[in-house]
């Protein structure tokens, strides 16, 4: 049966050469039009999961798939289907916002955009017109994050990977970002997001997973968590009181 999930982790396991078990049989899936938020402390395995999806590392066993493509078997095809926004978006500091957008859009295989298209996307992510022609080296973290999201939008990939995207953003920017994610989800994008921001995760995600010591110790839908205090749930799982 063909999978409809855009992101799939199937018994994903990663053990490093020094013996550290970073991921222990993690399985989950994210369908188009869904946001899956992974919560967890530092070292829980969130970034390792993302790194396997981006084929920066290979799993020891199990598979990560994007749009049905196993990432370590056909990484280039898998990467065509995913856009990525890192925790701390760093673009080329000597390029303007528009030049960065143009380069990364073309790198993502989108060659037909006009300057106006770029400007529209920058406006959509909330970057003021005056900043479009400015070099990135003068940008604040929030402005760089917005530029990074604009690049992800321009790629128009069915899957979006976000690694701690709201880290360091002020509340206003974080709220705008949440609205943006919702609109992307409404467009049918599958979004996999690692975050420390419990509040934002609860607000925006369809499904929330909690990772601890390489294991996905909890995976519940927003509906299932509706009546619960997510912070307390998180603390319980992190303390190992729940298996």
């Amino acid at each position: 049966m063909e999978s409809t999930a855009m992101f799939e982790a199937v018994n994903l396991t990663k053990q490093y050469e020094d013996g550290v078990l970073a991921l222990d049989a993690v399985s989950f899936s994210v369908k188009p039009g869904e946001i899956f938020a992974i919560l967890g402390a530092n070292g829980a395995g969130k970034t390792t999961t993302i790194n396997i999806f981006l084929n920066f590392i290979e799993p020891t066993s199990g598979e990560a798939r994007i749009g049905g493509v196993v990432t370590h078997k056909d990484p280039l095809l898998a990467k065509q289907k995913v856009a990525y926004v890192s925790e701390n978006v760093m673009l080329y500091p000597n390029f303007t916002a528009l030049q960065n957008l143009d380069y990364f859009a073309r790198l993502g295989g989108r060659n037909s955009y006009s300057t106006e298209d770029y400007r529209n996307v920058l406006r959509r992510v909330g970057l003021e017109d005056g900043a479009h022609h400015k070099r990135l080296k003068g940008f604040s973290k929030g402005m760089r994050q917005k530029s990074g999201i604009a690049i992800a939008i321009l790629k128009d990939a069915p899957a979006i990977l976000l690694d701690e995207p709201t880290s360091g953003l002020d509340p206003q920017a974080a709220y705008e970002f949440q609205r943006l994610l919702e609109s992307l989800r409404n467009e049918g994008k599958a979004i996999l997001m690692s975050t420390h921001d419990i509040f934002r995760a609860k607000e925006v995600a369809n499904t929330i997973g909690i990772m601890n010591k390489g294991k996905l110790v909890m995976q519940r839908t927003a509906k299932e968590l509706a009546g619960e205090n997510l912070e307390q749930v998180y603390m319980k799982y992190m303390a190992g009181h729940v298996n």
Partner: protein
């Protein structure tokens, strides 16, 4: 994809402050080296012409070819010598021609103006070897790990970018961004040569082109090495340190160490040792000949003019004999020394060739005709000239211009002689070694530079395929 990455590299490098500063500095230095080279050539040419005129002036009014002594020849300045100086300033430019005997160059540029010997001149060899190699390192040391540190590598490789295209694009983009703009000051430098009316012939242009080409290959060695080190280290500060150490080894340590080691391994008798041996042999010859001179007796009742003629002949034959023996002895010693010297040079250069800087220096000076063989070549040309000069003087005087004593008997009633025409003396022409003569060594050195670039780039390519981009 490759084109896009190359474009990005070009734009990123050319738009950076680092590029503006280094390119500006390199351009100024390049233009300065062309200007200084051209000016030096003009000054050297004036000095050369003045020295030649002075030599001819000294012969004005001389009425007897027997009185023509100590003719001097001069190493003519060459345009390429001013651009790639090599050993040209270290060797004696003036040679006194006596008609026979050993020849030695005197009045080297650095001997005359020692201040220039302290820091040396600014020439293309220096600029490529020191400045442009550093320029290459400065741009390549963080080519890969710098992108990782800045976070752009992760974002780039999160796209469907083949790593092979990326590293190829990096190399090609960096090369184009750095090498092509350098052509501008090069072309302006050529314009300086034209405006200052430096008589560059077709052969000189080819030589200049080859020096620049070798410079670009050398530059590529450091660029690809930078890429290799950058893709094998985590931090750009670490790769910069490694590259700096390599640069110091390549430019400063290896060539000097190679010469020292070769000096240790092969003992070449010093010039002083040779001079002392020659002097001992010469003294023994004099002893031998003094005895013969004391035994000279002219037949009785020989009129004084006839007696002087006989004595002259006798002295001349003694002189010839002494010169012959001395020359054979010197030749033997010189050849022995020369063979040892060649052996030492070969070993030193072979060892030094592990350094790309030494390879570049060898190829650029060989191409410019200012390599280590310039002195031997000049000496050989001077010796050839000495033979033709001796032949000419023999034709004029019937005697060998041995430099010995000339006895003249004057009765005071000779006809007043016409002055000699100094312009009859054969002209010394120095032809630099044709490029085809050093084709073998030039090809080897070009080959080494290309091989180093390819090996370093292959290493960078392989390393980057497995590079941890997290």
């Amino acid at each position: 994809m490759l084109k896009l990455i190359i474009e990005k590299e070009l734009r990123e490098i050319i738009g950076s402050t680092r590029f503006a500063i280094t390119f500006g500095a390199c351009s100024v230095l390049l233009l300065l080296s062309f200007y200084v080279g051209a000016r030096n050539f003009q000054i050297s040419m004036e000095q050369y012409e003045a020295s030649k005129r002075e030599d001819l002036r000294k012969l004005e009014g001389v009425t007897d070819w027997n009185m023509v002594r100590d003719l001097r020849i001069f190493l003519p300045p060459q345009p390429m010598t001013s651009l790639v100086m090599g050993v040209s300033n270290d060797i004696g430019r003036t040679v006194e021609i006596r008609g026979s005997g050993e020849l030695n160059g005197i009045e080297s540029r650095y001997g005359d103006d020692p201040i220039y010997a302290v820091f040396r001149f600014l020439d293309l060899d220096f600029i490529f070897q020191i400045i442009l190699s550093l320029f290459a390192i400065l741009f390549a040391y963080d080519a890969v790990n710098g992108e990782k540190e800045r976070g752009t590598l992760r974002l780039t490789l999160a796209n469907a970018v083949p790593r092979s295209s990326y590293i190829l694009g990096k190399m090609a983009g960096s090369f184009l961004a750095l090498a092509v703009p350098l052509l501008i000051p090069m072309l302006l430098g050529i314009l300086i040569l034209v405006v200052m009316q430096i008589p560059m012939k077709g052969d000189d242009w080819i030589r200049l082109g080859l020096v620049v080409l070798a410079g670009y290959f050398y530059f590529t060695v450091f660029l690809s090495l930078g890429l290799l080190v950058s893709s094998r280290t985590e931090k750009s500060s670490t790769s910069f340190l490694y590259l700096l150490v390599f640069w110091i080894l390549s430019v400063m340590i290896v060539p000097r160490t190679a010469v020292l080691l070769a000096g240790r391994a092969i003992d070449v008798p010093s010039v002083d040792q040779l001079a002392s041996e020659k002097s001992r042999f010469s003294a023994s010859l004099w002893q031998e000949q003094r005895k013969k001179m004391s035994e000279f007796r002219a037949p009785e009742n020989t009129p004084p003019p006839k007696m002087m003629e006989e004595f002259q002949k006798f002295m001349s034959s003694l002189g010839e004999e002494r010169e012959k023996k001395m020359s054979e002895f010197s030749e033997r010693l010189n050849e022995k020394r020369l063979n040892k010297q060649r052996e030492q040079e070969e070993l030193a250069f072979s060892l030094a060739r592990i350094s790309p800087s030494a390879v570049f220096s060898l190829v650029s000076t060989t191409v410019a005709g200012t390599g280590i063989h310039l002195k031997d070549l000049y000496k050989a040309e001077a010796e050839r000239y000495q033979e033709s000069y001796a032949e000419f003087i023999r034709g004029k005087t019937g005697q060998n211009p041995s430099g010995g004593m000339v006895f003249r008997f004057s009765t005071g009633d000779e006809e007043k002689k016409e002055p000699i025409n100094p312009h009859e003396i054969p002209v010394f022409n120095f032809e630099k070694e044709p490029l085809s003569a050093s084709f073998g060594s030039i090809s080897v050195d070009f080959g080494i530079l290309i091989l180093c670039s390819l090996l370093f780039f292959a290493g960078a390519f392989r390393s980057f395929l497995h590079y941890d981009a997290r």
